[in-house]
Symmetry: C5
Subunit: 306 residues, 5 copies
Amino acid sequence: MIIRPPTNWLRMLFVWDGSVLKTIVPQLLLILAISVLAVVTRGHIFGARIPLDTVPFPLVGVSLAIFLAFRNNAAYARYVEARQIWGRILIAARALTSQVINYLPEDGDGFERKLFVQRLIAFVYALTHQLRGTDPSEDLARYLSREEAEELRGMHYIPVALLDRIRLMLARAGRKRGAGEPLLWILDAQVSELAASVGGCERISNTPIPFAYGVLVHRTVYLYCFMLPFGLVADLGMATPLVCVFVAYTLFALEAIAQEISEPFGTDPNCLALNAMTRNIERSLLEQCGEEMPEQLEPCKRYNIS
Amino acid sequence: MIIRPPTNWLRMLFVWDGSVLKTIVPQLLLILAISVLAVVTRGHIFGARIPLDTVPFPLVGVSLAIFLAFRNNAAYARYVEARQIWGRILIAARALTSQVINYLPEDGDGFERKLFVQRLIAFVYALTHQLRGTDPSEDLARYLSREEAEELRGMHYIPVALLDRIRLMLARAGRKRGAGEPLLWILDAQVSELAASVGGCERISNTPIPFAYGVLVHRTVYLYCFMLPFGLVADLGMATPLVCVFVAYTLFALEAIAQEISEPFGTDPNCLALNAMTRNIERSLLEQCGEEMPEQLEPCKRYNIS
Amino acid sequence: MIIRPPTNWLRMLFVWDGSVLKTIVPQLLLILAISVLAVVTRGHIFGARIPLDTVPFPLVGVSLAIFLAFRNNAAYARYVEARQIWGRILIAARALTSQVINYLPEDGDGFERKLFVQRLIAFVYALTHQLRGTDPSEDLARYLSREEAEELRGMHYIPVALLDRIRLMLARAGRKRGAGEPLLWILDAQVSELAASVGGCERISNTPIPFAYGVLVHRTVYLYCFMLPFGLVADLGMATPLVCVFVAYTLFALEAIAQEISEPFGTDPNCLALNAMTRNIERSLLEQCGEEMPEQLEPCKRYNIS
Amino acid sequence: MIIRPPTNWLRMLFVWDGSVLKTIVPQLLLILAISVLAVVTRGHIFGARIPLDTVPFPLVGVSLAIFLAFRNNAAYARYVEARQIWGRILIAARALTSQVINYLPEDGDGFERKLFVQRLIAFVYALTHQLRGTDPSEDLARYLSREEAEELRGMHYIPVALLDRIRLMLARAGRKRGAGEPLLWILDAQVSELAASVGGCERISNTPIPFAYGVLVHRTVYLYCFMLPFGLVADLGMATPLVCVFVAYTLFALEAIAQEISEPFGTDPNCLALNAMTRNIERSLLEQCGEEMPEQLEPCKRYNIS
Amino acid sequence: MIIRPPTNWLRMLFVWDGSVLKTIVPQLLLILAISVLAVVTRGHIFGARIPLDTVPFPLVGVSLAIFLAFRNNAAYARYVEARQIWGRILIAARALTSQVINYLPEDGDGFERKLFVQRLIAFVYALTHQLRGTDPSEDLARYLSREEAEELRGMHYIPVALLDRIRLMLARAGRKRGAGEPLLWILDAQVSELAASVGGCERISNTPIPFAYGVLVHRTVYLYCFMLPFGLVADLGMATPLVCVFVAYTLFALEAIAQEISEPFGTDPNCLALNAMTRNIERSLLEQCGEEMPEQLEPCKRYNIS
């Protein structure tokens, strides 16, 4: 995720870091080349004029507007939902920590509060690594015993397994305290919330926007931009390359942003800052327990925070 | 569902598998034929010029844009909701398994955990088969006793019947454990969640988008495309077929995608991968119980996963 | 509701049953007449040319697009919400049946399971008849005793009264079983869900989309279509009637569909199939109880199902 | 709120009551005057031609469409949410009445059912009056004792105070019945639902759509309409006033409707019928208690119901 | 937030306070300068005509409309959600106060109701200050003991810490009352609601709309407006500056509003009135306890309320 301090409107026009411009430079150069070709040949290829004028472009524009708006909205909805799920993880993890500290306070009944919160933090790290497809070993080792980390390594659904272990701790505490079941329910509801978040993340991660949309948008945008210079050259003359590259920039850039945010758990600059959010949850839970907190993650020089 | 690894922007222009292009080839050929006819006759039929110019197309374009955008959004909303319901099935099935394992652990009280989870998996398979209209016998036989499978075969609402049996197991366990009703409530809430998912799936499956919309969109799109060549031929000349087929492609393709995803439980390439999701639930529940898991389903060569 | 099997793209162009075409034929004939008049007089009335060209139509088109899109979305949102509420009724009625069967199983405690489910089915019928403004007597007589049906006849909020009686049965069962209150809560939550559905249906039924929108959309659409022939005749000549009727068809049809689905509990062809859904709930509850089920309702020859 | 029986399409064109036409007549006359001036002067002022042609209008149209669509959607969302909140008040008040009647039936334990329902009805009236800024004394006097009404008069948050008193009655009943707390919870949930509705109404009432939007939409619409005659007069000649007034009507009317429904608790013709809804809740609760019901409120001659 | 009484349509055209006009004056002057330059040079720079006509503007308009509509909707959604969260804080704080007063009434069991409500109010102030990045010391000192305020000052998540202390008070009261756990649950649910609101506010505050959108919208809007004069000057002549400044005003203003409301917890004129809402919660809770209330906050002369 890009976190930049606000700049004034003039400098904003020349921002490089954090814009998607860098990912679409090759395509823009291609459009520039086609435009220059159209200007040089005055719209003729092999002596024959390409008979495109500006008439068809508004017609295609209708489809284009629908596709791009739809795709962009669908992608942003996935991004927002992913962010909301991570917000709910923070909320549920905090609630569970607060409830365990205040409602299950005696260590004498065998309930290990510290171990409980460590497993909770390990769960958040495990989910991050599952979503990014990275190796959780190092982070799990910080909060779990070596045997437990070893057991988990062979499993396919690690965050689910960690929640099962968290539930087992609650069940044991409930049984020891006797008629503790109403309390059990309060705590179980938060574990269910965490489990629902895992399912939500897996859903977003496993089910992309239907592939055919991507193909359709892509083809429409590119064909539109390839035809544009031949349509505009008669009217605009020398200004054709400028206008075509500008139009192409707006369309390619929108497609590129939508592509990035439609997979919000990725590592592109416009994806969610999973690492920073995980660290934030870790810090908040540790402060609730009165433990020392690690440093907050900060954006790098290029304003990116992963 | 099509699951393809990302390709670069150039190859994306020529993708065949996973695009809806193959389903609309006949219609596109028809438009091509009409366009060529318009070019050849210079827009005349039986010597009389078809007096269409480009004026009316933007007028129809307003209606067209509204219809297509609406239909597409409505279809996608159904697709997303269907996927969310299946996400909730995964979440509730996992929660029920975790709760049964941790909160009802003694086999001595007559509660058969293994049978419980088997019925849960059978429920998911039964729902998949009901939604796709296929025969559930084979899959049910893997997880239910022969008598139980036989009893269910004659029924009309099989997933509902399986949930009723799951509730009966909970009720019996609750009665044996005495004042176990608060616990019963925790477990019953998850069964209700599963039952709500069944109702949600039936709703999407039984209530299509109002038929009149489909007719209206279809007619508007096709009449628009049939008239287009005669409107453009005077301005575009030889380029008419290219432009008309391109415009028709964007409109027909959008209609075709919307049609497919508006019935998300079907078997078209852009429908949900019910089989893969069912297998995923099965695998996750079995791992929670420490049982062996079957293989994950993978996309076929043409990137399709059912 | 129209339920038609999918047809191919060509036959779809000529569908009559289920399209709204039949309801707007008179208006389309009027537009046809105006268009022909415009062609015959070449846009002159009493010798003076009506000085409309195509310039103002895109300007009005902006407003038109906003109005139609808004009205259509608002109408469809009502339709979808109404359908969701009926889905929730099915879900809650099934859950209540399942819970009563499994958690209140002894007939010895005076709880009459059969009477309970009969009242539940009567409730659904009473709601259907209230929403459609029809007489519930016949359907109530099938499931209620004569005295009870008589008592209800004089009341204004019959479904609410039936839910009150259902709650009374639960309260009595709860008192007989002693400390049964946690169980009472599980059951009460489902009754509350049914009561919330009644309130939701009444809300949709009593509060239309603000009337002024309908007037505004209607006037804009009709004035637009009345002026269209005089604007197009200079450019299109003989093709004017064709284009005008086509444009008018798309606009009138959209307005007509939106009108129908904005009152989803009505009996127009695009309204919800309340009768079929009621029968479906009845059948599902009876199967859960192991009773015989009546036949499912099927679409009539004209594909309509009420 | 306007409740009119459906009329046919022709009479709908000439509806006066319930349309917003009457509120925008002065502005439309101004546009008419400007248009006539433009026709008379052929677009010249002080001998110099106002050099506007139709080119800029589609450019401004883009902004205009976004502003109007956004503002209208935002306003309608407020209207719908306000209506939903009032639907929830009906649902929660009915549920509370039903639960109190069925679950707290003995008058011997000191719980006064009648007083309870009276306070509930008084609460609804108090909320209506708070939202409309009217004096609740008369309506409160019908359902509260004089002292209680007197005490409430000095308070700032009267509905909240009434809910506090309702909760106090529940708390006392709970304490008298001993371990009645699970029941208390069922009842408290409904009181919380009513309190949430109060908060929701206050939110809509206190936080308008950001003021700057209204200014921006207003200016854009009016400047657009003021410039329109000078842009169209060259092309349309004598038809200019007709077209300009028509375009202005669609834009002004949409702005006026959006303004009215964005404050749904007001008393404009398109606001919610708070009085009728309050009466409906009163009637339903009284029927549940078996008491006599006052008459339903009906629309006045001009189809308005407050 | 701007709270202005409604004015008539004419004065609304000249409103200065509360419109965003003042923030975009420099940019509008630049556009004015460019337009005048275009008029003076008749679109020539260094003797060469800038070959832009009006053709490309509708093409860019498609992208522009999508970007602006999307950005504006996304920003408004954040604003609405932020307001809803603060509405929920009011609701939960009131509910907790009401429940504590009515269900935990005896001071004899060591539960300090007054301290409880003070901590609740301190929590709301702490959240406001965290979101605005201001120093909470002064407001906390009014409701907390000096030691407690001192302890909190060193912490990073102060509202979370206050909720943990509130939960501790509930836990102690629950333990003293014995089997008070069902009651504990009612109260804990409201604390969880407050904690969820904290998480929601942090989410909106920490995760802006993806930065790349802002860059893309900004560039498109400005380049569009910079090119506009050269495109329009041939057609509009002397009217070019008027039209260009008007078009630029609508676009710049929309961008500026969207920017302000996308950070709803800021202090710009269109942000939420956090201070007034906090005071309102304070007042309502104090009235519920029968304590004296501070004055309500009122808008300043320029209609602004922070």
